[in-house]
Point group: C2
Chain length 145, copies 2
Amino acid sequence: MEYSIGQAAKKMGLTVHTLRYYDKEGLLPFVKKSASGLRVFSEEDIDWLVIIECLKGTGMHLKDIKQYIDWCREGDATLGKRLEMFKRQKAKIEEQMAQLQRHMEKINYKIAYYTEAVAFGSIDILKRNRCLAAEKERIFGPLKK
Amino acid sequence: MEYSIGQAAKKMGLTVHTLRYYDKEGLLPFVKKSASGLRVFSEEDIDWLVIIECLKGTGMHLKDIKQYIDWCREGDATLGKRLEMFKRQKAKIEEQMAQLQRHMEKINYKIAYYTEAVAFGSIDILKRNRCLAAEKERIFGPLKK
DNA sequence: ATAACAATTAGAGTTAACTCTAAGTCAAGA
DNA sequence: TCTTGACTTAGAGTTAACTCTAATTGTTAT
């Protein structure tokens, strides 16, 4: 199966502008052109886009994604670099997950706080709520004087 | 305990420039000034910064964070809006976690792929590896012709 | 064949979130 | 007192990643 730039964009949830921008930045050196100069995306090219989205979605910059793509084009000599790159990215994702978990605790505290506040129609009464205070200290850290 | 802008920046892992930028954008309306015009961050102000970092770190834009801070200043009438905001943010975090998990599967496939490739010194042999191919189809989706 | 629509390029413009500079003020130690 | 270093403001500059425009060419349905 082959795709025009518009079909590829739709499939990936990107705009044609973005795909052309990626191409200009050297992220799509594998995409072929038809006789009349139109980009033709193969099923394999879609896999490349999926990996680009994956790396971008885990915080890698386009220039570093390009580095990876350049390594791929250099052949087997760069296999080790590519493996190390993915291992580093995995560690980054694990840290992101841990960070998200910590953020989630704070958000959950706020939801508990505001649920109480909405029930009472005011935050004043919460200032003497020992349960929420203990929870806050656990999540936000102890107070310093 | 009170902090100068430099101490607050250090504590939060931000620069003084960033804190002043946040202030300029209306994110720190609670920070007081000393007689000579220096910003003085209280322990409570640090809690505000922690929440700002939490919302920013889960993808909220500064202008939406400002909206939340403005609601806080409007008083109890906005409690419901604030609760709904945190609930939406919680849903967003859950989606981010699911997304990260999906990205992680792809990265794990790549690590398995490149670990094999490095062991053989080449990617050629992998093209007949049915185990990796099945794994790829499971994670990247079935091929279309 | 002609209208409507999708594609091409080069290059300008936008947005968010900083990041820094200039010119100056303030506070503490030798 | 003098120096050092942290602070102040207004405002300019930077960066990444788009996002769009203009002018043009190619493709497809009736």
